[in-house]
């Protein structure tokens, strides 16, 4: 690990004896999960609970003329069949816009379609029955009379005057447009070599192992709704459920126990989940909705459906003079609620060219409506697009002037001592380490030897390629991400820590756990700062009644923001404990410390009193404490970044692969990542986040695509036809780190959850083009399927 800054003079709270920070400690929840004692929403059974299935539109766009549910209602086990009109009485529609995304527009969306279905998969009726199977049986007997309407499917023609407008009230199919013009692009391009390409990305989705699942339980006696849901943001769900059910937030409790993967898929408000809350209120009983795999593909947000023209200017000495992009993306018929579907394109504009010093940058992004499933934020939002465009253009530029792809990056990446600085799009960088990361990567992969091997194999008609991708990544977002746009999505998080009567610690945090290790990192931080062993720390998360208010876990924010709140809360509790200890021991707080669950002398480490003994005195014999002492063995702290809108991280990836130029099949041989997420709390968790992220990026590069036909039908909505990356195709992924802690927090951690996804596809695409160089073929489209490669090679 390379540390870019000299360690501080004094020991920080993180470097205390027996610190867990920087150590691979097993996750506290592992045993529970591995022994099958996890509690996923699907496991939940409540008295009188009913199951809902949604009858979904088979058409991409259709008027609902009539719904005949009489036969279904009479079937055994059926409790109710509810249409959008009927549900409207309970829940109000919503519009997914944010005020800081100027001009963004969308139409009111209903929990269940009213009058009109706008994508294949939109719910048009809910069937509630005593079991899912009974509901599915009844669903076959609900007869809907549809009048099929013209579907807008191709984003390229969505804005044409001849194309029907999906929402007449909006006037056109343009949801959002953003332009940016920094520096002097025309001037820069006029005296440079200019390379241009169109980058095409496959629409894909997150494919969580556990599908979206919710149990909504309206308790009419308490006038309170409890929502058990696999979500990344419980307080956001609370706010929105309350708003649209016309309740006070205090009337809604959101409980989020174990979640089988999220990747951003579960940070949104889905119509069918809203319908489930409303059905519980309407029918006054617990209702469970668990999406099956087919409806997951049809309704979990999709992402990354972009076509982007990119241009780069380069001089013969390798200087990149300008970037220019014109991005187009189709988001489905509605902007998703409440984070909106404009963020992805907005991020593309923000991030293109981001690792480089190039000051001339022009961008246009247009976001259009179409009759396909909704698109919204999925792991590394916008980054894979921006990175693939940027890095693809940089490689094209290098190839144009005959320069090694590493050399052109060396000459243009922002220097490691240039910080703080800002990008042409206004992104502020506190401290990045592009050059240190690249140097480390080259050493890990033994670049020279790899190039020699590549050349030797080429003579034997074996075609391997090396591809690079430098990237930057948004983490630890402040309120500028959503809050300023009017969304009630908290950017701050809170942690409460208390010492119990036997010296164990209960810690309540507003961040959530979906498998990434939030629970572990919280316990590691609290244990380290308090001087308490981790097995004594119990972490409670995912319950709006029982945790501080906060944002949750998304946008690579859990460790950086929730972790800092945990650190500060633990520091405060530690001080409170030392104050009490000093009173008991007739000593000074500054002369004492907590190490290994006991109070010790700060200077010689001599044990003074066990924590459990201190707790016993505080809770059961406060009469023995000196007068005027009121111990506070609980402390709460909140944290939100204020100085920087985002704590940018950076890194670089490389791919080594082989293309069978006869068949078009790609074999991934090796992948390397060096990334800089600041302080590393748990190296194994960070590395596995990176690896998992890379795998999702590799999926995008080679396999994953939601394939729609021209009528807006999703034709591969199952696990046989939608290809997720599987272990057999994955290369070894080697990971290295450079550490530039953020100075905005004492913890110094930035996010690590999305970096892998940001650059993986770009590295693979560059490697494929590198392999194909002798054939003069260049591909700027993903997924790189055998069909795409054979076509580019002119074989078919």
């Amino acid at each position: 690990m390379t540390v870019t800054r000299a360690p501080a003079e004094t020991l920080s709270v993180l470097d205390r004896p027996n610190s867990y920070i920087g150590k691979t400690v097993p996750r506290p929840n592992l045993d529970r999960l591995l022994q099958g004692r996890g509690q996923y929403v699907s496991d939940l059974e409540l008295p009188r609970m009913a199951h809902v299935v949604f009858l979904r539109s088979p058409y991409a766009h259709a008027r609902i003329v009539a719904i005949d549910a009489d036969a279904a209602r009479r079937m055994s086990g059926v409790i109710a069949v509810v249409t959008g009109r009927e549900l409207e009485a309970v829940i109000t529609p919503w519009v997914g816009v944010l005020s800081h995304l100027k001009g963004l527009k969308s139409a009111p969306q209903h929990a269940i379609a009213v009058d009109r279905a706008c994508w294949q998969g939109e719910a048009v009726a809910a069937i509630v029955a005593t079991s899912r199977a009974a509901a599915e049986d009844a669903m076959e007997h609900v007869v809907v009379d549809y009048e099929e309407l013209a579907a807008v499917t191709d984003m390229r023609t969505a804005l044409d005057p001849a194309t029907p407008v999906i929402h007449a009230s909006l006037g056109d199919n343009l949801a959002f447009e953003r332009t940016l013009d920094a520096g002097d692009v025309d001037q820069a391009l006029s005296d440079s070599e200019v390379v241009e390409a169109e980058f095409v990305f496959g629409r894909h989705t997150g494919v969580t192992l556990e599908p979206r699942a919710v149990v909504a339980d309206w308790n009419a006696a308490e006038a309170r709704l409890t929502i058990y849901q696999g979500t990344q943001a419980p307080h956001m769900v609370q706010n929105i459920a309350a708003l649209h059910l016309r309740l006070k937030e205090a009337q809604v409790r959101v409980v989020c126990k174990d979640v089988g993967g999220s990747f951003g898929i579960k940070v949104h408000i889905y119509a069918d989940e809203m319908a489930t809350y409303a059905l519980s209120k309407l029918l006054r009983r617990p209702i469970k909705f668990v999406a099956d795999r087919v409806e997951s593909f049809n309704t979990d947000i999709h992402a990354r459906d972009h076509r982007c023209r990119g241009r780069i200017g380069v001089r013969s000495d390798g200087t990149i003079t300008a970037f220019e992009i014109d991005d187009l993306t189709g988001i489905g018929p509605y902007s998703m609620y409440p984070r909106t579907s404009a963020i992805e394109a907005n991020q593309v504009v923000n991030l293109v060219g981001g690792p480089y010093v190039t000051a001339n940058y022009r961008a246009r992004a247009r976001v259009v409506f179409q009759n396909k499933n909704v698109m919204c934020q999925y792991r590394a939002v916008g980054h894979p697009i921006a990175c693939s465009i940027t890095e693809g253009l940089v490689d094209l530029a290098a190839s144009k002037i005959g320069m090694d792809p590493v050399e052109i990056r060396r000459r243009n990446l922002i220097s490691d001592d240039a910080y703080p600085c800002a990008s042409p799009s206004g992104m502020k960088f506190e401290q990045l380490s592009h050059h240190a990361s690249l140097a480390k990567l080259l050493q890990m992969m033994d670049y020279g030897a790899l190039r020699a091997e590549q050349a030797a194999l080429r003579t034997r008609n074996i075609h391997r390629g090396i591809g690079f991708a430098s990237f930057i990544e948004v983490t630890n977002p402040s309120a500028t991400f959503y809050g300023v746009g009017g969304a009630k999505i908290s950017s701050q998080d809170g942690v409460a820590v208390r010492l119990d009567a036997q010296g164990s610690v209960i810690c309540q945090t507003s961040i959530t756990e979906q498998g990434q290790g939030s629970e572990s990192l919280t316990a590691q931080i609290v244990g380290s700062v308090l001087g308490v062993s981790m097995e004594r720390v119990r972490v409670i998360l995912g319950d709006t009644d029982n945790t501080p208010y906060g944002g949750g876990t998304w946008a690579s924010r859990g460790a950086g923001i929730g972790g800092e709140a945990a650190l500060q809360a633990a520091k405060a509790l530690r001080q409170n404990i030392l104050d009490v200890a000093a009173a008991i021991l007739q000593s000074r707080p500054a002369g004492l410390d907590i190490v290994n669950n006991r109070i010790v002398n700060a200077d010689d480490g001599a044990p003074r009193i066990e924590l459990n003994e201190l707790a016993r005195i505080v809770y059961f014999r406060p009469d023995t404490l000196p007068p005027g002492i009121q111990p506070e063995l609980m402390a709460t702290r909140h944290f939100v970044p204020r100085q920087y809108p985002f704590a940018f991280t950076n890194g670089v990836q490389a791919s080594w692969l082989e293309v069978d130029t006869e068949t078009g099949f790609v074999t991934l041989l090796k992948h390397w990542v060096v990334e800089d997420c600041g302080t590393i709390i748990n190296p194994q968790l960070v590395d596995e986040q990176i690896r998992g992220g890379v795998v999702q990026g590799l999926g995008a590069a080679l396999f994953e695509k939601c394939i729609y036909d021209e009528r807006g039908q999703l034709t591969n909505a199952n696990m046989a036809d939608y290809l997720v990356p599987m272990s057999g195709e994955m290369p070894d992924i080697e990971i290295g780190h450079v550490v530039s802690p953020t100075q905005e927090t004492e913890l110094g951690a930035k996010g690590a959850g999305e970096a892998g996804t940001a650059g993986a596809a770009a590295a693979v695409a560059n490697a494929v083009n590198d392999a194909l160089r002798p054939f003069g073929a260049t591909i700027t489209e993903i997924p790189l399927t055998p069909q795409v490669i054979l076509t580019a090679l002119g074989r078919i």
Partner: protein
Amino acid sequence: MKAAAFAYARATSVMNALELLAAHGDRAKVLSGGQSLMPAMNLRLLSPDILVDVGGLAELRGIAVRGNLLVVGALTRHVDLLRSPEVALHASLLRDAVAHVAHPAIRNRGTIGGSLAHADPASELPACVVALGATIVVRGPAGERRIAATEFFKGIYETALSPDELLVAVEVPVAGRGATFFFQEYARRHGDYAVVGLAASAVVAAGRFSDLRLGFFAVGDRPLLAAAAGKLINASVTSALLAEAATALADELDPQEDQQASPAMRRHLATVLLRRCVAALLARSELEAGVTR
């Protein structure tokens, strides 16, 4: 994704199974390993009234050599083919092929009878039995029928089986002197159905093919025994001759378009497989690179 309600009967004998099938006609479905049937039922693509589970029928199990035939019972699971010494010795093509069928969990349950009866054109085993010149043994109300593998497959998911018949065994001629096999497929991921595949059985003597049976799969509505192979039998194989065979092969294929490949791509991949197969079987690597269409 819950199957519609269905009745279930566990057959106690082949006779009993046949009676049940006779009684329920095409409203019944035979349940073997369930690895194709159950997913289809969960998706409600199929809603049989009754499942006739043949899983308990010992008569349908086992792999044995009888004379110069390797007899493989219908209930032989994919994993058994993978591990059987008899298969390795007498029909190693099946072993090589079945390693490409799905994943261990599915191979632990899926059966050869189920795979052949299911007749997915992208499936490995149907192409193998065609290449091996095997015979499919079926039993129905009127007794036993033996159907040449080349006559058994009729179309996508269609076979010569009638709804009241049970596939009971496969008879494979044991490999003779000089017999060699080649199996390769192009699939997007390990365990996926092939985009194009080839199961080949050959007899090579003195650097020539005295027999060559090329069973292509995923190139049409059923496994295809390529006539183009004829050009290479008892001939001195040159690059030019191989190119001629490749052209003939491309002409005789009528591949389907799907999400993985266009017809043109399937034709192309089939010819790549042909070249690789011939080069491998004759141990002449120069043939592999030589031809481009």
